[in-house]
Amino acid sequence: MLTMLVVDDEIYALKGITQGIEWDDLPISTILEADSVRAGIEQMGRHQVDIVISDIEMPGQNGLELLRWIHENYPDTITIFLTGHARFDYAREALQYNCFDYVLKPVDHDVLKGIIVRAVQEVMNRRQRQAFEERLEMHRRQWANQLPILVERFWQDLLSERIPYSPERLNRQFELYDIPLHAESSVLPVLISIEHWNVELNARDENIMEYAVRKAASEMILGDRPGTVLQDRGDLNVLLVYLTDGDAGCRKKFLERCHQYVMACHDFFHCRLSCYVGEPTPILELGAALDNLQQIERVNMSSMQSVIDIQSLETDSEVPPEFVLPPFAEWEQLLDSGRMDELSQAVTEFMRPFDEQAMNRETMELFYFGFVNMLYQAANRKGVSIHQALTMSDLNGGLASKTHQQMLVWALDLLDKAGEAFQGKQRDVSAIIAKIKSFIHENLHTEMSRDDIANSVYRNPAYISRLFRKETGMSLWDYITYAKIERAKQLLTDTNDKISNIVTELGYTHLSYFARLFKKMTGMTPQDYRKNHRKL
């Protein structure tokens, strides 16, 4: 709603306009009156006035002085002037100060109303324009603030292959997010694999530190090169170098920078990590390339804190040329959609070539772990307990396989049982997590490292750590501390052991450190706890 001010020194002329004209049908909520320029200026100081109708000839300051004042102080206010004098210099001055209209007295009230209708329209238009400008500016700011997040989300979507991308769509998105790439461009992917924190971190701190590690990767590995560092939906830390002109640059120098980065992370972040450097890859094949890097990461249990170049791996004799990675991604989709027969067929098809050439040990292991992992992931997505259908010996059976035929029989058997289990709907944690937990509980008396835990389940430590946090919501360290304190409580209440003995039994070397930790977790000292809860 608008506010209108009418200024006239003659009371009947003033009232004639404010009361003698039907204003109700216009969106004007307030009509103010002033009988002099001074009173008009006062009104404008008190109210936000949109439209002013003013007489020119008035005692004291005249209407043109009011017009000048409004022009200087409230340039958005629309002004309409009335005068008994058809004088050119009045009209010129009124025009000069951006007067909306200029009418001779006595003014036909219908004409005056017509002018106000136009003025109201103009105010509305100006308001709309202004609101639009403000909204646009807000969006511009938001866009600029959120661009990095949006870029990360774009890559996350692309890497998780949630949305099928046509080249046109891809180009549009690159343009939208200001990414200097085309649909045909290539990208060099690097998997940053955090293997171990040399300091104890809870889940939150670990997230923060991983962020710091990614920032450092952006600065040290990318430097001035276009690219991005992000965390994908599976908590993988990924660095992408945009190969805008198709030139990957000197690989040796790039590997050298990766190496410096690995060392720097060790020194500054107390972090042991490795870089798995992929090959220049077309954008639409990035997901597969990262899967490949992850497979390498999963089986890499020998070279920690290093830079692993996929190109040199392939020429190495360690991985035979006939090494074939099972298409787990495709199989997962079949599993998710419950097409068990097709999946069984696909697995059988995959095994067929090995009739002629025996499956080597690495491929067997890869198949085994990949297959079990696939089942667990699928079970987890479905919220189903796999242990209802599969025993630990079922799961371990594959490890004992000596030939691909045995492996195939095992796999098909597992698929049958899993398929049944997926019909039901029960929740449980995955076998690996259960295994890790039982390993932790059995080894509370030692100072467990992440490597020890990873070895117990034959997995890469970085992978294990991610998996554990994803499944349980706790970091390994948080869980170990929790388990140790629970055991301590039990020992304090159920036994008469000296506290120092209990501390040693839990693998802690410093009593004071343990006491502090215990108090932090339980709210009381070990001595108080024993007093309050003792059973014997």
Binding site: D9, E10, I11, Y12, G16, P59, P106
Partner: protein, 269 residues
């Protein structure tokens, strides 16, 4: 003889020129007088008020204003008469001020205080009204708006020095007063030597007064000590009845006009 004749012819020539010049002056004065009669701004403002009063459905005020305007214009139509009674001139001023009061309502106040014995004095028409109008146009319009009303007083009294021969009429307001330079020009006579374009009404009135009364009596302009313009006129009483009617204007019509006006007042009262 020839020389005397030539001198005489030259004198006649000069006299003729003087007569023409005098006629021209009279015509110019009349012309300006007419201009005063049809002040377009006064028209416009009045119409504006009528229009707004009508839109406010204040028909009583429209009626009142119409009657005041009718009387005002009727007086103007007959203002080429030689003389009117002072009471008629005063009534004309009242109409004028009532019309202005409809514009300015409580921002304007006036008082008229004429001695009963002066009412029937004969004066040239529009001798006083221009000074009232001048007070409104200049005094009121230029006055700082402080919330108090603008006041005009019109009063008559016996002349202090020669009460038998003159009466004194004073028009006074509480506006900003005359500008110093104008007062200076009015007192030393230079004002009248100008064309009179700026203050048409005042210039014209002074001119007509001079033509009618010569140097008898006259106007005095001053600013009151407490502020405001003061115009005082000393009018010769004895002369007023004996005034010659200039040119071809006839006394007969003047009488009928007076009767007409009297009738109008009676009818309304």
């Amino acid at each position: 003889m020839a020389k005397t004749f030539n001198q005489m012819a030259e004198q006649i020539e000069n006299l003729k020129i003087d007569v023409y010049e005098e006629q021209l002056r009279v015509q110019r004065a009349e012309y300006k007088h007419l201009q005063v009669q049809i002040n377009p701004h006064f028209y416009m403002n009045s119409l504006n008020i009528i229009y707004n009063l009508a839109s406010l459905k204040d028909y009583r005020s429209v009626q009142k204003l119409s009657l005041h305007l009718a009387d005002y214009f009727r007086f103007m139509m007959h203002s080429n008469r030689a003389t009117v009674r002072l009471s008629d001139e005063i009534r004309h001023i009242e109409h004028y001020l009532e019309i202005q009061k409809l514009r300015y309502v409580d921002k304007l106040e006036y008082r008229i205080d004429i001695q009963p014995q002066h009412q029937s004095c004969e004066i040239p028409p529009l001798l006083l009204q221009p000074f009232v109008e001048n007070a409104i146009l200049h005094g009121f319009q230029q006055r700082e708006q402080d919330g108090t009303p603008f006041r005009i007083l019109v009063a008559s009294e016996n002349d202090h020095l020669m009460p038998d021969k003159f009466i004194s009429i004073t028009i006074r307001d509480n506006g900003p007063g005359f500008p110093a330079d104008m007062l200076e020009e009015l007192s030393n006579g230079t004002y009248m030597s100008r064309s009179g374009e700026q203050h048409l009404g005042v210039w014209n009135t002074l001119r007509r007064y001079q033509m009618l009364y010569g140097n008898e009596g006259g106007f005095q302009f001053s600013n009151a000590p407490e502020g405001g313009a003061v115009v005082m006129v000393r009018l010769p009483i004895s002369r007023s009845a004996m005034l010659d009617h200039p040119g071809d204007s006839d006394a007969g019509t003047a009488d009928t006009d007076l009767e007409d006006m009297g009738y109008a007042y009676n009818a309304r009262g």
